[in-house]
């Protein structure tokens, strides 16, 4: 089965370009907004476009989970935090130490340029070139991922559930407002 020779269809190319522009444009809007609510809406758009990219990679379960967890749960948390904090940035870009930060951005930019160069150079290798071959039947659906989660990855799965429980308890404990007795938790958790 020489699926590689077929190449991506026109529809697949158009979908990829639209979704990639959605992801990168949404991310750029997110980090440049002064208004936190606008940034959160752009972030929701970014995550929805990213779910589309996951779907084009045949990761259907992860695509649905991305929308449920990121665009649903995590963004609601952010909205609630903005509701409590609600401060727009007067000067969104840090001015103090700008030279050091600019040097950091330039250094990371150079690093990512080098990595991108390596990726383009190695684009003919098996792992990167065979993305368009047909995966095994049932690839990426709920049944096969769930079977993997509850067999090979059972212990990490339970550990992650414990981590989530600890994070929820810690979140409630840290964000708890001043207690009626007069003691505050601003200095630490009592």
């Amino acid at each position: 089965m020489n699926v590689i020779l077929a190449g991506p269809s026109a529809l697949e190319k158009i979908a990829f370009v639209i979704l990639a522009i959605g992801v990168l444009g949404g991310a750029l809007v997110t980090i440049t907004r002064k208004n936190a609510v606008g940034a959160i809406i752009a972030l929701v758009g970014t995550f929805c476009a990213m779910a589309g990219l996951y779907a084009t990679l045949s990761a259907h379960f992860l695509a649905v989970l991305q929308i449920l967890v990121y665009a649903g749960a995590i963004m609601v948390l952010f909205i609630f935090a903005v509701m409590i904090v609600n401060k727009d940035d007067a000067h969104p870009i840090a001015l103090r130490g700008l030279f050091v930060r600019a040097a950091g951005v330039l250094a990371t930019g150079y690093m990512f340029y080098r990595v991108a160069w390596i990726v383009v150079r190695e684009r003919q290798t098996d792992v990167l070139a065979t993305t368009i071959t047909l995966p095994i039947p049932g690839y990426g659906n709920v049944a096969s991922i769930g079977r993997l989660l509850f067999s090979d990855f059972l212990f990490p799965f339970e550990a992650v559930s414990l981590l989530l429980l600890a994070a929820v308890v810690a979140g409630v404990l840290i964000a708890r407002p001043t207690r009626p007795g007069g003691a505050t938790n601003s200095g630490g958790v009592a």
Binding site: A27, L43, T56, L62, Q66, K87, P92, I93, L128, P156
Partner: protein, 99 residues
């Protein structure tokens, strides 16, 4: 689409997240940049999982997602708590441990 396009998108997304985390002073925006970076990592994982035909990459991306949820819960609780105590979430203003 060939996999290297996905990896390039993932790299660009991670770079945008890094720039946001480095340049913004508002703690909320730094947390959002961290979410972008985690998403970029998941995208690369799923691309290589597809290239190798191995679904274990999906499981790791699933764990990354759970980790992002835990990080957002604790991070936002800390932001709210700091705002209650200091009336600011400007990361340059919260610098007692710097010197």
């Amino acid at each position: 689409m060939p996999g290297h396009y996905y990896i390039l998108v993932s790299l660009a997304l991670f770079f945008i997240g890094t720039v946001g985390a480095l340049l913004r002073r508002n703690a909320l925006f730094v947390l959002m940049s961290l979410e972008l970076q985690l998403g970029a990592g998941s995208l690369a994982l799923l691309t290589f999982a597809r290239g190798l035909g191995d679904q274990r990459g999906h499981v790791v991306a699933f764990f990354v997602m759970a980790l992002a949820a835990a990080e957002a819960a604790v991070g936002l609780a800390i932001v709210v708590s700091v705002y209650r105590a200091r009336k600011t979430i400007d990361l340059d203003a919260i610098s007692e441990l710097r010197n």
